[in-house]
Amino acid sequence: MRKNRIGILAVQYVVMTLIALLVIFPVYWMIMSSFRTHEEIFKYSTLSWQLFFPVKWTLVNYKEIFMDDSKPFGRYMLNTLLVAVIVTFLGLIVNSLAAFAFAKLRFPFKKTLIVIFLSSLVIPYEVIMIPQYLLIGDLHWMNDYKALIVPQIVWVFGIFMLIQFFADIPRDILDAAKIDGAGWLRIYSKIVLQTAVPALITLGLMTFLNQWDSFLWPLVVINEEKKQVIQVAISSFQSLRNISWGKVLAATTISSVPILGVFLLLQKYYVQGITMSGVKG
């Protein structure tokens, strides 16, 4: 019986390791190939260790993508970072303010407003994308970062996630602060925000990642080469004829590895966000 147990566990480890190798392989291959020369990537096409490991390590791909003035890669990264940071910051303020009011304050038409907010979750992005595009045209925001930032600030999913967190804050604490003469804005910033730091990290992380990965919307509203964001820039990179794989993979590596690093550091919060949406939602 005991021997059997150990056998099963061993099989489980082997299976899990094989799956892990399969899952990690595309990412591993991307990183490794980004350090190969153009010739080397196409040189080895039979099974050998050289297929999986760079023979001559080189940084030339990275140097080239950052030096190329016609495709300013550093600029794309900064553009994306700027947009993602601003959306995350403004989104956290706007969404947490609304969530606080819904979770803790008493006011008329609360139920109606909650239903209005909830109903927006049914509307698929694909339907409103076209009129949003026309609206951006009417506002003269084409090729403007405002087009990438302002429509993305409110995130109803985020509001409802925060409501669940805020609901646990006892009303007594808020009332006590009220009696001490604090205004609601002060209570929000001094008490609510400080007790909800983990929730805000979770939401901030999810917002930031969404923005960093955003593709379709910038593809539509940003046409000016220099203002483009990273995901769209990468896709235009590899649609060019005769582009070296090394450069494409250096671009994908440099734009995803920092994100993977941040995720590894904060994965607890990220996973928590998914769990909240899945179990309670």
Partner: protein, 297 residues
């Protein structure tokens, strides 16, 4: 409780609440509700940005859609994609969750690795897979050739092109739903398994009699979300195949994108988007009914 009970609200609190909600509400109206209404309006118009003329079209856009073979085919491709991805991805995600469920040495590492593709952006994942799928130099076919197996040309063989997209999408999303299943599994009290064990149920029986029924709500969530995502697949199509070869991977959203932003035919594209919206809504409602559950624990 004074103000609440008697129906009189504290004035200051009320004002604060409305002010706090106002920014979110204004943004919601301007960028979600107003576009929704306008989309409906446009879908009943001839609205082309190139010819720059707008005229009422009545139901013409919708009628035309149902005779438009490339739209109907794109619908078919989306359904095919969803029909494969929903069961396959759900089973794989559940399998992974079961594998890494118990806490033992190294389990955290495995969870992290399985989850990693979720954090890789869709655009980047698609780019990597496009290179891996390359017929001559791609890693996939180099490996297959090395093992003496026939090559798979996902990028230019219309018969299997969608399978390439499916593999990519499952690789990218399975870790997300694994986490959802893990949360669901952790909610099942151990006492139930102990009871089942005492009653002499084996591992397989425990899975079908305890785990699966109690995971019904989680599974419903996973399937409904997967369905919505699958029917709206776009980025990997745009990057890896651009709808080809021979239109074999042209999905509905890809069709909408091309109609709206390549042909600039906003009215027709909006009508197509509404048809998709209606389909997704109906399917979601049916799924919610089917999964309505009385299991409590």
């Amino acid at each position: 409780m004074r103000g609440y009970k008697s129906g009189i609200y504290d004035k200051q609190e009320m004002r604060a609440a409305f002010l706090f909600i106002l920014p979110a509400l204004l943004l919601l109206i301007l960028f979600i509700f107003y576009p929704m209404a306008r989309a409906l309006l446009i879908s009943f118009q001839n609205y082309n940005l190139i010819s720059a003329n707008t005229s009422p079209a009545g139901l013409a856009n919708y009628r035309q859609l149902f005779e438009d073979s490339s739209f109907l085919e794109s619908l078919g491709h989306s359904f095919y994609f969803a029909a494969v991805v929903i069961p396959l991805q759900t089973v794989i995600a559940l399998g992974l969750a079961l594998l890494v469920r118990r806490v033992f040495r190294g389990v955290g590492l495995f969870r992290t690795v399985y989850f990693l593709p979720v954090v890789v952006s869709f655009a980047i994942a698609s780019t990597i897979f496009k290179l891996i799928y390359n017929k001559d130099y791609g890693m996939l076919n180099v490996l297959l050739r090395g093992l003496g197996l026939p090559a798979w040309d996902f990028l230019s063989n219309p018969d299997i092109s969608m399978i390439g997209i499916i593999i990519l999408c499952i690789w990218k999303a399975m870790g997300f739903f694994m986490i959802v299943f893990l949360a669901g599994l952790n909610n099942i009290p151990d006492s139930l398994y102990e009871a089942a064990h005492v009653d002499g149920a084996g591992a397989v029986q425990q899975f079908f009699k305890v785990t699966l029924p109690l995971l019904k709500r989680t599974t419903a969530f996973v399937i409904i979300i997967t369905t919505m995502d699958a029917l709206k697949i776009f980025v990997p199509i745009y990057i890896t195949t651009s709808g080809g070869p021979a239109q074999s991977t042209s999905t509905v959203v890809f069709y909408i994108y091309e109609t709206a932003f390549k042909q600039m035919n906003m009215g027709y594209a909006s009508a197509a988007a509404f048809v998709l919206f209606a389909i997704v809504l109906v399917i979601s409602v049916i799924q919610l009914r089917l999964f309505r559950t009385d299991v409590e624990y």
